[in-house]
Symmetry: C2
Subunit: 135 residues, 2 copies
């Protein structure tokens, strides 16, 4: 039983390491947001750089604080509506710190009994390039 | 103790769900490779599509099989050398199925006592566009 526990622990550590390295290495700006609280659960440096706020300050803060044009309730509603659209739902928002237009592409998933929004962020001016690179 | 165990389990499931949704949602083609065995530990659909091989067939297979120009030993050595280069080490390989030139950008990390290569793949013709999108 001790070996099984340790193997479970090793497997978990490997998953955590994979998750961390993936989040840090992808070029895309990524933000995980709790649907229930509207708060940022995790974020990578690419997203912090795009929003003009340090990753450590973003974690745990309301995602809506990063934008000047929505309350938390309005933002989560907009993002959830976008996840329901037939193809590639997007929400365009104004970043508070940089003043830039940011396009958010959300998907929703269930994790440990709660719903999480995975948001891919891009500057509006980069959207055409980003789509090409994704093709 | 039961509650602590269940909370640990929930936390783990949430991490797994985050990892899965992140790997599936990023635009970049991603392959995780074991340094020790040279085999693919995980891969997303973007990478499967780029290599012209189904994700289910890629998982567990030797990463070198996807390319026509390296043995497993040579491939892992090339990738490990690239991770040591000062900036943005890359290895260009020929995909067996598509015949395309594929550029691999590897990073190495430790997970549960073994070393894993996280490889970001791109078609050589897309490289300039991808770098722009990442800026």
């Amino acid at each position: 039983a001790q070996i099984a526990l340790e193997q479970g622990y090793e497997t978990r550590r490997e998953f955590d390491a994979r998750y961390r390295s993936l989040l840090a290495s992808v070029d895309q700006a990524i933000v995980f947001v709790s649907v229930q609280t509207g708060r940022i659960e995790d974020v990578n440096e690419a997203a912090a750089s795009l929003l003009g706020i340090k990753a450590a300050a973003l974690k745990g803060s309301a995602f809506a604080n990063a934008f000047s044009d929505r309350s938390t309730g309005e933002l989560i509603e907009s993002l959830m509506n976008a996840t329901l659209s037939e193809e590639d739902g997007r929400v365009t928002l104004r970043a508070t710190h940089s003043g830039q237009s940011v396009v958010v592409k959300p998907v929703v998933f269930r994790a440990g009994g709660q719903r999480i929004l995975l948001c891919r962020l891009a500057q509006e001016s980069d959207i055409v390039t980003t789509s090409d690179a994704a093709a």
